[in-house]
């Protein structure tokens, strides 16, 4: 029998208590156990960033994170960015700057952009490009994504 681990953590501001198989990924827990399908499965191998979430303020690939490792931590997913006040400024910028086409990679892209904004703030264009290197998008060519992040944090050449 696969070991089960009882964990409790904060998900988008709410306390969650679940029992997860020891080998389950945080992504599977979020999508299949908790119904939080905003976080996407696109490769399951840490190569595309569609599953990016923030844990204790740090962005990571939830497909590579063990669900058990969420124990005691604060998890933020794309659903948690939108508050009663409306869309997060980063979400709003992605909408208004035309960064969203099929949109499948965008929850992960926005979470990574949010992490960059939180940790780096204003950055050079090269830093911005590097900061998004782990997020694959097949629709946009990334240009409108750069525009969106730049609109929020400010980007220097």
């Amino acid at each position: 029998m696969t070991a089960k681990v009882d964990i409790s953590f904060t998900l988008n501001g709410h306390l969650k208590k679940v029992s997860v198989p020891a080998d389950m990924s945080a992504l599977t827990m979020l999508r299949d156990m908790l119904g939080m399908t905003g976080t996407k499965l696109a490769c399951g191998e840490g190569e595309c960033g569609a599953c990016t979430i923030m844990v204790d303020g740090v962005s990571l690939n939830s497909c590579l994170m063990y669900a058990a490792e969420c124990d005691g931590r604060t998890v933020l997913t794309i659903e948690g960015l939108r508050t009663a006040a409306g869309l997060d400024p980063m979400q709003k910028a992605f909408v208004e700057k035309g960064a969203i086409q099929c949109g499948y990679c965008m929850p992960g892209m926005i979470m990574q952009a949010k992490y960059l904004a939180d940790t780096k703030g204003k950055m050079t264009h090269e830093e911005l490009q590097r900061g998004l290197e782990g997020n694959v998008c097949r629709c946009t060519g990334y240009k409108k994504v750069f525009d969106a992040v730049a609109a929020v944090v400010g980007v220097t050449e």
């Binding site: 191998e45 997913t77 909408v95 086409q101 099929c102 097949r138 990334y142 240009k143």
Partner: protein, 771 residues
């Protein structure tokens, strides 16, 4: 009330209406869907290129608790489907490529499916296999399909004029063989389908398809049911790019599982499965011979294309339809002789992919233009302008180039990039010391921009209804796969009806509701669905203005609809609110609702048997200029600047237009530099984003976009279709730039660091040996 001035939404920057839901994770993509009582399906793929199936033992899989259905070819009728009607949902007798679907299971979870698949024992006897179409065509080659002698699949020929005479009269002739490679779509949402049968045997299929109506027609023969008994629902998808324009085996397999299990079944590919089993772009060996006079006039093109069909026939081997168009119409070519044939092999097979055929053909025509100009000692711009068609010209295949601004595009591209001066300077600097070499390259192409009449109809149906609150619902056949037709339709309808875009709802995801459309492909949707929406909206507008005319006691043509009001057209004086008008129309003695429909069929014609016909209602051109730096030691190519000039007819949604071009260009750069599905002995060697390299954010060069507005007389508001040219033109522009930098031609993309480094090393070794 203040007068309301006339304002236009056309040319504005409009966010996609579905963007907020997508940005917040609210959107439920098909990959996110769970239906009550739903089971999961998985397929056992052959994993070997050519083998007899001696025996399949599924007993252990069937016995596994939680497994509801296990199917092999023996359990289902022998039904054929696909473009070549040579494919079956489950393969019996023998397997012809690694993808081949040998068995399938439905179970309570994907993990259980995997476990069940591991329990299925298949005995194979491997057969000699063939992977190269030239080998496959030889006598005595292993036969892939018993009923396809010589492994011959589709073939196409087009001849115009007298190529032999043209060659005899040519001053310069160049001859090259291009080998364009396998790439794949890499949709971020992997292939996924949910099938559900009702008690009457009618199928509801939740599908990623880009062509919901013909999808029914193509899926039915795989299942042996009537197309009318299939309802297609299109939840939001994670990309398509042409990969979902055919039925692929996983779709009927999922339906067969649902039928057997009497439960809804969802089947999703893992990323690895996606790389191995989803369609590719068609690889082609293009042997091209081009002639010209001393003054630069092109005299002929003779082209021989050999296509690796793979084991089955989807849209891939039909790309000559478009390749021939490019060979005969990219520049004015008075004499052409084109021969294309596809040969079955034991490789995986290709489907359609953004730029369909033209990506392949333009790689050859644009590199040959550069080579020819050099050989003639002419500037590329001069040579290109000399051979660029003008408005009103008709190509050998009968394309009437109305509103043709090819020359303007070429001139603009050269002007904004300082092309001619840089091109000469970099060529002169090529042999100076220094490991980094700079180059600039130009390429161009032509593409259909007003649909493509390859089916019996190229039309789109649209219905519009307005409710008592002046909210409009547009029910359109046009599919939304991320490209942004939703925003365009909102703009066009809001423009005609004088209501805010936010008051418009689009319904386009259910074949039981929306009227017919041929599908989202061929750069057609803004043009065709835009026209359909505009025409429908005009009918609604006319009905509303006529009703207002009676109430205002003014002629209808003296009225206009602006910002929710009926106004005097002359000075904008408000007369009546539109919602009030609609209620008065509805709750009157002679009640009327505003609900209109339109079926727009473009004024194009299908090709005849000789492949002649004006098959698109508009054509457009794009010219790309790439400026590159080549590291002559590592072979790495860096794009310093990328410039695009494109005839877009007219800008409708400026932001959506830019986004399509930027995304298309980056896909085209990936095709040129890094993307390649490596298929060796029929096996996909790099089925992961780790080893299949799409462009990532740091590799994206600065892009400069210029739009030329030619105002199509047939397009909605003058617009033309735009979304494929950006993917078609980058690769030869980059190849020409690399030549400008280092003096080496690459006829076989992608230009990976290793390929470039090797070519430089080989040339330098030869030079050293000669000294």
């Amino acid at each position: 009330m203040e007068p309301i001035a006339k304002k236009s939404l056309i040319g504005q920057r409009v966010p996609k209406p579905d963007a907020p839901d997508k940005a917040t994770g609210r959107t439920t993509y098909i990959n996110d869907m769970v239906l009550p009582k739903m089971l999961y399906g998985k397929i056992l793929h052959a994993g070997r290129p050519h083998a007899l199936i001696k025996n399949i033992d599924v007993s252990a899989a069937k016995a596994l608790p939680g497994v509801y259905a296990v199917l092999t070819a023996a359990d289902v009728p022998e039904m054929f489907f696909g473009v070549g009607r040579d494919n079956r949902p489950l393969k019996g007798g023998k397997v012809r490529c690694v993808r081949d679907e040998v068995a399938a299971v439905a179970a309570e979870s994907e993990e259980l499916c995997d476990e069940a698949l591991r329990l299925i024992k298949v005995d194979y006897e491997d057969l000699p296999a063939v992977f190269d179409p030239a080998e496959g065509a030889k006598e005595g080659a292993p036969l892939i399909h018993d009923n396809k002698p010589g492994n011959r699949s589709l073939a196409y020929q087009f001849k115009h004029g007298d190529v032999a005479a043209a060659e005899a009269s040519s001053d310069v002739v160049i001859d090259s063989v291009f080998n364009v490679h396998y790439v794949t779509h890499c949709c971020m949402g992997t292939s996924c389908v949910i099938a559900d049968f009702d008690c009457d045997g009618k199928l509801t299929i939740y599908s990623q398809t880009q062509y919901p109506y013909n999808f029914k027609m193509d899926l039915a023969p795989a299942l042996g049911i009537h197309p009318g008994d299939i309802r297609v629902i299109q939840p939001p998808v994670g990309g398509a790019f042409g990969s979902k324009l055919d039925v692929y085996p996983f779709e009927p397999v999922c339906a067969l599982l649902a039928q057997a299990a009497r439960r809804p079944v969802k089947l999703t590919f893992s990323r690895e499965e996606e790389f191995i089993n989803a369609p590719t772009r068609q690889p082609v060996r293009i042997h091209m011979r081009t002639g010209a006079k001393k003054d630069g006039t092109l005299t002929f093109r003779k082209v021989d294309c050999l296509l690796n069909n793979g084991a089955y026939t989807s849209w891939g081997p039909t790309v000559p339809f478009v390749m021939m168009r490019t060979f005969s119409s990219h520049f004015r070519v008075p004499n052409v002789d084109i021969d294309c044939r596809a040969i079955y092999t034991n490789n995986p097979y290709a489907g359609s992919f953004r730029g369909y055929g033209n990506v392949q053909a333009t790689y050859a025509t644009s590199i040959h233009a550069d080579m020819m100009a050099e050989k003639l000692g002419m500037e590329l711009l001069t040579f290109s302008l000399k051979n660029a068609q003008k408005s009103g010209e008709v190509t050998p295949q009968g394309a009437r180039l109305n509103e043709c601004v090819f020359a303007e595009c070429l001139q603009k591209a050269a002007d904004v990039t300082d092309f001619t001066a840089k091109h000469a300077r970099y060529a002169a600097e090529r042999n100076k010391p220094g490991r980094i070499k700079r180059g600039i390259g130009m390429a161009s192409s032509i593409h259909n921009a007003g649909g493509a009449k390859i089916h019996k109809s190229d039309g789109c149906g649209t219905m519009i209804k307005l409710d008592d609150y002046a909210r409009a619902t547009v029910i359109t056949g046009a599919s939304e796969i991320g490209q942004g037709i939703d925003a365009v339709i909102c703009q066009v309808v809001a423009e005609e009806l004088g209501i805010p875009m936010s008051d418009i709802t689009i319904v386009n995801n259910d074949s039981a509701i929306a009227p017919w459309d041929v599908g989202v492909h061929a750069s057609r949707t803004t043009f065709i669905a835009g026209n359909a929406a505009q025409r429908a909206a005009r009918k609604a507008r006319e009905q509303m203005l006529n009703a207002a005319s009676k109430r205002a006691n003014m002629p209808a043509d003296a009225l206009d609809l602006r910002e929710g009001w009926v106004v005097h057209d002359s000075d904008g004086t408000p007369v009546l609110k539109i919602d009030k008008l609609l209620r008065e129309m509805h709750f009157s003695r002679e009640p009327e609702l505003v609900m209109v429909s339109e079926y727009y069929e473009p004024p194009s014609e299908p090709e005849n048997k000789e492949h002649v016909g004006d098959m698109s209602a508009a054509y457009s051109h794009a010219v790309h200029v790439a400026e590159v730096e080549v590291d002559t030691e590592t072979g790495e190519i860096r794009i310093v600047k990328f410039t695009s000039v494109q005839d877009v007819g007219r800008v409708i949604n400026e932001m959506g237009l830019e986004a399509q071009l930027e995304g298309g260009i980056v896909m085209g750069i990936g095709y040129a530099l890094s993307e390649e599905l490596k298929i060796v002995n029929g096996q996909v060697r790099n089925p992961s984003f780790r080893d299949y390299k799409v462009l990532t954010a740091p590799e994206v060069p600065p892009m400069e976009l210029h739009f030329i507005e030619s105002h199509s007389s047939t397009g909605p508001m003058g617009a033309k279709g735009i979304a494929e040219l950006p993917t078609i033109v980058p690769a030869p522009a980059i190849a020409n730039a690399v030549y400008n930098a280092i003096g080496i031609r690459f006829f076989d993309p992608p230009m990976t660091p290793e390929k470039v480094a090797r070519a430089i090393w080989e040339r330098d070794s030869k030079l050293a040996a000669a000294e």
